[in-house]
């Protein structure tokens, strides 16, 4: 809708054939730099993690999965926090921007949750002897994954943009509300996972790698969020044009 169009082009062009890039304006220059920075930071964090920190006494080099597994989980939580806040802002202010931010964060968050599960499994097989155990943290992460997969499915099934935004905001808020309840209920149900890793619970040489990776993942998240947001805007322009063309009866 015209509310998100940049000031240089406040009214969408009447002919539906103009370039979408021209209608939206060029992508912000900082996004590319952010991507490059995130990549370099990520590589540096891995270098510190893999080369500098010593192998763990019990787990050896296997422990190094922690450097990417734990930050992926943290960043996924940040992403779902963004979905929650953006959904509330959408219902309150009705800004299309908030809806697109929620959609982008949900997608990136779901990918990061999947990554957390995959990395955890890879670590769990040699350590615990199984790919999967029904432990609270694993199980709640898997449920988080399906809750937001449902959110993305709903997004793809609803065509009307206004209705889609309102419905997804409601589903996003309820889904986020459920996260602590799911976690608590599954914890009562069973427990096995080792204590949560954080810079405070690991030795100094490991803490550096963990901290650097946490920031690396945060930068990667912001970069993906910015790219996905741009893509969401392009999709909206295409939708608006399709609608207009259909109304003109071409």
């Amino acid at each position: 809708m015209s509310t998100t169009a940049p000031p240089s082009n406040p009214v969408p062009t009447a002919d539906a054939s103009g370039s979408i890039g021209a209608e939206l304006g060029p992508p912000a220059g900082w996004v590319g730099w952010l991507g490059l920075g995130a990549l370099l930071f990520f590589l540096a964090a891995q270098a510190v993690g893999v080369l500098i920190s010593p192998p763990d006494r019990d787990m050896g080099h296997l422990q190094k999965i922690m450097y990417v597994h734990v930050p992926a989980a943290w960043t996924a939580f940040v992403a779902f926090g963004v979905v929650f806040l953006a959904s509330i802002i959408y219902l309150w202010k009705r800004s299309e921007r908030a809806d697109l931010v929620a959609a982008s964060a949900a997608e990136v968050g779901t990918v990061l949750t999947g990554l957390t599960l995959a990395l955890g499994s890879i670590w769990g097989k040699p350590t615990w002897g199984v790919w999967w155990t029904w432990d609270p943290r694993l199980t709640s992460t898997a449920i988080l994954f399906v809750i937001f997969a449902g959110y993305l499915a709903l997004r793809s099934f609803v065509e009307d943009p206004d209705r889609r935004a309102r419905w997804c905001a409601a589903v996003g808020i309820l889904g986020a509300l459920n996260v602590p309840i799911v976690y608590m209920s599954v914890q009562w149900w069973r427990t096995l996972h080792q204590l949560q890793s954080s810079p405070a619970t690991v030795d100094a040489p490991y803490a550096l790698g963990l901290r650097l990776n946490a920031f690396a993942f945060l930068f990667i998240f912001l970069y993906l969020l910015a790219r996905r947001y741009r893509a969401a805007k392009v999709e909206r322009v295409i939708e608006v044009r399709r609608e207009r063309r259909a109304l003109e009866g071409e």
Partner: protein
């Protein structure tokens, strides 16, 4: 006070209308009840003839049967409105839209409770469960579990019933949300059936109560936003 009473009267009228339609056709109830009975038997075959193992799994089997058969009712309650073009009219009536949610919720509750009245005794017979001794506790667990299930089911069906892939979308949205409810309800039911020597049932029931309260308030508040169009 009078506005609240007015709202409840409206909700009651909607529930009465839904239940009357269902009572006259019985189409959904008969098939859902039959499916629920069928599922109990299928679970019995899948879990094998060992009577002890069956009794151990009974709490989980019972709740999964309720969830899988009950979910079929929720879309239907909006489907009827949509097919008759009646939802728009319902939305145009003056007054709070919350009444629509409360009315649908009440009608769905009656529906699922009727299914339960059939499924629970049948499970008791098939799986040889001692229902009578822990009856007051079990009734409370089923009340709490059913309320939470029907609240979220009614809420998500308001959306799912209006899209193309409604049969798939509703369970996809609803079941992940119901995990705490399933865990709590099965935990409490299993504890009560085993005599509740450890006093676990009370903790699970508090979890169910908190779940019900949080999502009843959240869906009541959010319902306005999902029906406005």
């Amino acid at each position: 006070m009078s506005t609240l009473r007015l709202e409840l009267t409206r909700a009651g009228a909607i529930a009465w209308k839904d239940l009357t339609t269902e009572r006259r056709t019985k189409a959904t109830f008969n098939s859902v009840a039959f499916l629920a009975a069928l599922m109990l038997i299928l679970f019995g075959f899948a879990l094998g003839p060992d009577a002890e193992a069956l009794r151990g799994a009974a709490a989980g089997v019972l709740w999964l049967t309720v969830l899988f058969s009950g979910v079929l009712a929720f879309n239907h309650s909006y489907q009827l409105e949509l097919e008759g073009g009646a939802l728009e009219t319902l939305l145009l009536y003056p007054g709070d839209r919350r009444a629509i949610f409360l009315g649908k919720l009440a009608a769905n509750l009656v529906f699922v409770v009727l299914v339960l009245l059939l499924v629970v005794p049948m499970a008791a017979v098939l799986f040889n469960l001692p229902l009578l001794r822990p009856f007051p506790g079990l009734a409370a667990v089923f009340a709490l579990g059913t309320f939470g299930f029907v609240t979220l089911g009614t809420f998500y069906a308001a959306m799912a019933s209006r899209v193309r892939a409604r049969e798939v979308l509703l369970p996809l949205l609803l079941f992940p949300m119901l995990v705490p409810l399933l865990v709590g309800a099965v935990g409490a039911t299993r504890a009560l059936l085993a005599g509740d020597a450890m006093g676990d049932a009370g903790a699970w029931m508090r979890l169910l109560g908190a779940f019900d309260l949080i999502f009843f308030v959240a869906s009541l508040l959010a319902f306005e936003y999902i029906v406005e169009d």
